[in-house]
């Protein structure tokens, strides 16, 4: 039996939006997730702190945090969590909430995700060269030298396509994605 989450609506929202999210209520703040996180040192709040902040109702601070955007999806936290909390999936949920709220002030990571999906929605496949160029020109024009090294090596070995591939069933895919987005909005 669980108490209605009237006091912490945002916590409840996150739990609802994550498969298996109920387990978050049992977090014992042991820090296994944060100790395991390969990008933990670069996060402004450790994943454990994010959960404490969720419990404390600090919605705004959570959505401003870079933590979810530094998640590399390695699932160490999730595999090691003694309470079986789907931590990686919660990070995905927080990314979605953060994009909706537009509170995270460094747009680099959200933009990467969005550019990636832009290509998928136009072609049905991802497009590495276009993606990398578009993204790097927006976010780190100064580092295009290093990008150049990367791209050149890849191009000379024929590992980057110059043109995106398009799948046959683009109409079908778009119909499916449109419907899905409509469902998500409700």
């Amino acid at each position: 039996m669980s108490r209605p989450p009237s006091t912490q609506p945002f916590l409840h929202e996150v739990i609802e939006a994550t498969p298996g999210g109920e387990a978050l209520k049992t977090c014992l703040q042991c820090g296994t997730c944060s100790g395991s996180c390969p990008s933990g040192p670069d996060m402004d709040h450790s994943p454990r702190e994010i959960f404490a902040m969720l419990m404390a109702g600090m919605e705004d601070e959570v959505l401003r945090s870079n933590t979810p955007w530094y998640c590399v999806s390695c699932y160490y936290c999730m595999a090691r969590c003694p309470k079986d909390i789907p931590i990686t999936d919660i990070m995905y949920t927080l990314k979605r909430k953060s994009i909706e709220a537009r509170l995270y002030d460094d747009s680099a990571a959200p933009d990467w995700s969005e550019s990636f999906m832009g290509y998928v929605e136009s072609y049905g496949r991802s497009f590495e060269l276009g993606l990398a160029t578009q993204y790097h020109l927006t976010h780190s024009p100064l580092s295009k030298v290093s990008l150049g090294t990367f791209a050149l090596g890849m191009l000379t070995r024929n590992r980057l396509g110059l043109l995106p591939e398009r799948i046959e069933g683009m109409d079908q895919l778009n119909a499916i994605l449109e419907k899905a987005k409509e469902l998500e909005a409700h």
Binding site: L28, G31, G35
Partner: protein, 671 residues
């Protein structure tokens, strides 16, 4: 003649009344159920005033049947039966309805809860009207007791009983009694030497005239019931004749085969093929481990036989089957430690200098493989730094959800020993520090003063992959220091894993053999978690120590003594009453088909050739009722669970069927 039924609906404070409209249930019962002459609701039926209420009504109103709607019958059936008996009513003219466990605690909707309460009360009333007068059987209690498990809890229980003057059979699976406690160096928080306080009790148990010690033995079969159990014990062949052996130890000394000792030395020491687990072992006789003995494997050697001055070695010795008769049984079968190789990220088994807490106990023990020297796996190097990791395999839904209760204190003890024995810097990595009993918090204070370090955080991993010069050649403990919110990498020479306590891997088989139950995890289940912690649901079977759940030495000893006290009260009374719930065959109706004969697991049904009917031996019948259900002629009656009583119960439960028809008028769905 119609019965005079009294109905009592308990509020249980607000436990029941908060959800069920108890006044309404009582009012409704009084008006609608046949033969009900009194229907009351009352705050606490189990209180003495509640019981007096029933007694008074029986006397003054001439009640012939009583129904109480309250908690589960497993809690208070006996209470109310006693009240009936006090007022001169046969205690079996009583029936209980579980309004609290089955309704109030599991239902939210008041209306539906109240309706269900009415149906349970109606069922009880319909049934109780058909109850027959029964008398419990009285059986004598055999004053001998079987204690299974010779750890500190079992030893304590045995000594209590033996001191009171009653015979005890103490059965131990290992070659020596002593259990886990015998492996320890010091005990927290007083730092008594474990051997100094345990070994005298072991010798006392062995020497006691009332204790028969059966070591290297296991219980194979249990039959009978409270007061008179029959037990078969297999005494494994030691290949050493106990009567002849003086325990001089020359055989062990001369034995050429040395193997890793997984049991007593926790895998970090060696023992011979003919061995005693430790010098103060009780009994003192060695055993031959046939798996590693040269003679048993190759047919050659027999050195032990040659050197034995008393010719006590007997390679032809066979297992012995011993039959015991006892009135009660105490199980004190102990625990197993968590297998640390299951948490691969801690590197146990791969990284040599990761140890388990049990290994560390042996390392610190002056009688252990290093004679108490604190060294790394190479056997030489003293660690300069030690990391102690708490909760390994505990508080984790993947392994054991519960807290193992002893690890925090053991970790503090290890901290003290390491500081005392070495120069090492000791750091404890904990989730929550739980020094909960008398003197424990003070011990924690002491360790902080002694300079032990504490990092609050559950360790993520232990690795040998160095990322900085100071990490080279070290084990790196990676953890979030949760009080700082920072990831830390702490390089140490030695890591100690505080492995959790688990039920014995064969706990379920043992529970089945003794007819008791286990929790989901495999701990033996007590009759009541607070008020009856050492009894089980099976009369005459008691539990003590860590087989019931993780606990430390003081608690194990207390439970051993408590279990003995429970047994003593049975022995002193001399007899015990058992439920008269047995089956009976009406020979007039029996067709002699013999279907029931084979169904009975207790061989309680015999076929009488002469009369061509079957007959039940009530002394052997345990009242499961399977034969009653199977008899095609309906010739078998189960006392207190007759066909008529259950059919009546059905009528009561479905009291509202017609009500439902009037409102719903559903389309039939069946063909």
């Amino acid at each position: 003649m119609s019965e005079r039924i009294g109905i009592y609906v308990c509020h249980c404070g607000s436990n029941i009344a908060g959800v069920v409209d108890v006044e309404e249930v009582a009012r409704w019962a009084g008006e609608n159920i046949e033969d009900v002459v009194i229907a009351r609701d009352y705050k606490f039926m189990c209180s003495s005033l509640g019981q007096e209420l029933i007694e008074e009504d029986i006397r003054k109103e001439g009640l012939t049947r009583v129904v109480v709607g309250a908690c589960s019958p497993h809690l208070h059936e006996k209470t109310f039966r006693r009240a009936c008996a006090n007022a001169g009513l046969n205690p079996y003219f009583f029936q209980m309805a579980s309004l609290r466990e089955q309704i109030a605690w599991v239902t939210k909707d008041r209306e539906r809860a109240t309706k269900k309460a009415k149906s349970l009360i109606a069922a009880a009333a319909e049934r109780v009207a058909l109850h027959a007068e029964l008398e419990p059987f009285t059986v004598p209690v055999n004053p001998a007791t079987l204690v299974v498990g010779g750890g500190i809890a079992g030893i304590q229980a045995s000594l209590e009983l033996a001191e009171a003057g009653y015979p005890v059979y103490l059965v131990e699976r290992e070659p020596s009694i002593g259990g886990h406690m015998a492996q320890f160096d010091k005990t927290f928080p007083t730092l008594d030497c474990a051997a100094c306080i345990l070994t005298p009790r072991m010798s006392e148990a062995e020497a006691h005239e009332n204790i028969t010690l059966l070591s290297y033995s296991e219980v194979e079969e249990v039959s009978g019931f409270v007061g008179s159990f029959k037990v078969k014990v297999r005494k494994n062949a030691r290949y050493v004749v106990e009567e002849d052996c003086t325990g001089c130890g020359i055989c062990t000394e001369k034995c050429p085969t040395s193997v890793v000792d997984d049991v007593f030395e926790a895998g970090i020491g060696y023992r011979k093929a003919i061995y005693r687990p430790f010098p103060q072992a009780v009994p003192k006789y060695p055993v031959i481990d046939t798996e590693s003995c040269l003679y048993f494997n190759t047919g050659k050697c027999r050195i032990c036989e040659k050197v034995c001055p008393t010719e006590a070695i007997d390679f032809e010795q066979q297992d012995e089957l011993i039959e015991l008769e006892v009135g009660n049984i105490i199980l004190a079968t102990g625990y197993e430690t968590f297998d640390a190789t299951r948490i691969t990220q801690y590197g146990y088994g791969r990284l040599p200098n990761v140890f388990t807490s049990l290994e560390f106990e042996r390392l610190c023990n002056a009688a252990g493989p290093t004679e108490g020297k604190l060294v790394l796996r190479d056997g030489v190097t003293e660690p300069k730094s030690i990391g102690i990791i708490h909760c390994v395999g505990s508080r984790d839904v993947h392994y054991n959800p519960g807290c193992s209760a002893i690890c925090c204190m053991s970790a503090l003890k290890f901290g003290h020993l390491a500081i005392e024995k070495s120069e090492a810097d000791v750091t404890s990595f904990y989730i929550d520090m739980r020094p909960i009993a008398k003197g424990y918090e003070e011990f924690y204070d002491r360790l902080m003063e002694e300079g032990m370090h504490f990092v609050r955080g559950r360790v993520a991993e232990v690795t040998d992959v160095a990322l900085a010069p100071e990490e080279e050649g070290k084990l790196i403990v990676q953890v979030e220091d949760t009080l700082l919110g920072k990831q830390r990498r702490v390089p140490v020479d030695m890591v100690v894993l505080m492995v959790g306590l688990e039920p014995r891997p064969d706990a379920r088989d043992v529970a089945l053999r003794f007819g008791i139950s286990c929790s989901m995890n495999g701990w033996f289940t007590e009759r009541h978690p607070k008020l009856d912690p050492v009894a089980t649901m099976t009369d005459g079977i008691f539990i003590a120590g860590t087989c019931q759940g993780a606990k430390d030495i003081p608690d194990s000893v207390a439970q051993g003594a408590a279990a003995a006290a429970r047994v003593l009260s049975m022995i002193t009374r001399g007899h015990v009453q058992i439920e008269p719930i047995v089956a009976e065959i009406n020979p007039e109706q029996c067709s002699g088909c013999r279907i029931c004969n084979e169904l009975c697991p207790f061989n309680a049904i015999d076929y009488i050739e002469a009369d061509a009917v079957s007959e039940i031996n009530t002394a052997l019948c345990k009242g499961c009722g399977t034969c009653v259900a199977a008899c095609p002629a309906g010739a078998i009656t189960g006392a207190h669970f007759s066909n008529q009583q259950i059919m009546a119960e059905l009528d009561g439960l479905l009291f509202d069927v017609n009500e439902h028809d009037e409102t719903m008028q559903p389309e039939p769905t069946a063909a």
